[in-house]
């Protein structure tokens, strides 16, 4: 069979009509030489694309794509219980949405007139979690205590921000405190009375979570969980 040399560049460009394309594809099934030709030409076209200045995609485009995907199964987070210091397999974001909803339910309790603001705050936290989950490059991992039970989760973005999402607010009179481990130092990343809070993680080897008095501590007194970075 003769090689459709004349058609290969147009095939790589995607400009062949349906009939010619089918003919070329049938030929390519059995011809390594022509496949190599197509591959080489395709790579030149990649360079033509990548020579263009790269503009960032508009915000919300990924959300729209995700909304149009066929509905996937709603599996629970596939957290691997390997203790608090291992990074497990990624989990379904729908499991995380359920966790965010759980934050709203458990932390909200049952509210009356005086707690409208609390509800608004809880909704804001839920929206914050949802926004993080919608980021295409977000990494997700469960936070486990020393017994391997789930305390909540950690979301991380490539820009160096992490979001703690805990199942329960701290006990009355106490606060969560986050720490960054760097060399031989533990750096306090903040004291938090809410179950959802953001910390920076860049430059640290690990993040720790502890339970402290309301005003925080100079060093962790009651360790809860750790995540190696």
């Amino acid at each position: 069979m003769s090689h459709p040399q004349d058609l290969l560049p147009d095939y790589a460009l995607g400009t062949l009509g349906a009939e010619e394309r089918a003919r070329v594809e049938a030929h390519l099934e059995d011809c390594e030489a022509c496949r190599t030709e197509v591959r080489r030409t395709s790579e030149s076209l990649v360079r033509l694309v990548e020579a263009l200045p790269e503009a960032p995609p508009p915000p919300g485009a990924w959300d729209a794509i995700q909304a149009r995907l066929p509905a996937a199964s709603s599996e629970v987070p596939a957290g691997v219980s390997q203790g608090p210091t291992r990074r497990p397999a990624r989990s379904s974001w729908r499991g995380w949405a359920a966790l965010a909803a759980l934050v709203l339910v458990l932390a909200g309790g049952w509210w009356g007139f005086g707690e409208v603001r609390q509800v608004e705050r809880l909704r804001a936290e839920q929206q914050q979690v949802a926004r993080w989950l919608a980021q295409p490059q977000v990494e997700r991992m469960p936070l486990l205590d020393k017994a391997g039970d789930k305390l909540g989760g950690l979301l991380m973005l490539p820009d160096g921000r992490a979001l703690f999402v805990l199942q329960h607010p701290p006990a009355a009179g106490r606060a969560y405190q986050a720490w960054g481990h760097k060399g031989d130092r533990l750096v306090s990343l903040g004291v938090f009375e809410r179950p959802v809070f953001e910390v920076p993680y860049e430059d640290y080897e690990a993040l720790y979570l502890s339970l402290e008095p309301e005003a925080g501590s100079g060093r962790p007194t009651h360790g809860l969980a750790a995540v190696d970075l």
């Binding site: 076209l45 990924w62 990624r90």
Partner: protein, 180 residues
């Protein structure tokens, strides 16, 4: 296996995170190509969305032996943009008309490897000669068909096809010479 080919393999198994990762890596490139071809942010965003949806649907058609994942994705994007160009009644006025999306390109990255790619390509295109370079630009970035180029440039159809083929192969050879 190439990391991007690995992502497509996961995508073939229905892994949405793999699509998210590919979007993270290639979304900007796809959007920029569509913007360049369509001169419209709105339509470029439509192409961006449709490209990744098509990628999700057609992942099982990817063949590593025919080219990289990027070539596969950019070809989907280009075909989406070409469909929209064909559907339009009016064609873009000029290859140099950037007014509509100036702002977007003001945000464009200037990573060192991008600049190097641009310089390498510019050199390779210069080496093609003015007419063949223009032919390739009109065909690739503006999406003109052979027939449209023949009318636009007042050139016989057969000449358009053979010159374009020759230009693409010459560009390929020059880029391969420059490659590290």
């Amino acid at each position: 296996m190439d990391p991007e080919a690995e992502l497509v393999a996961r995508l073939q198994r229905g892994d949405e995170q793999a699509l998210a990762d590919l979007y993270g890596q290639l979304g900007g490139r796809v959007y920029s190509l569509a913007l360049r071809m369509l001169h419209s942010r709105e339509e470029a965003e439509e192409v961006l969305q449709d490209t990744f949806l098509k990628l999700y649907q057609k992942a099982d058609r990817y063949r590593e032996e025919l080219g990289s994942v990027r070539a596969f994705v950019y070809t989907i994007a280009r075909n989406e943009a070409l469909s929209r160009l064909r559907a339009r009644s009016a064609r873009p006025r000029a290859a140099s008309d950037y007014d509509v999306y100036d702002d977007a390109f003001a945000l464009a990255s200037s990573r060192p490897d991008d600049v190097a790619t641009r310089v390498t390509l510019a050199r390779a295109m210069d080496g093609l000669g003015e007419q063949d370079g223009r032919l390739l630009t009109l065909a690739f970035y503006e999406g003109y068909s052979h027939k449209e180029l023949s009318e636009l440039l007042d050139m016989p159809l057969g000449t358009v096809k053979s010159r374009l083929r020759r230009a693409l192969l010459a560009l390929r050879d020059r880029l391969e010479e420059e490659a590290p």
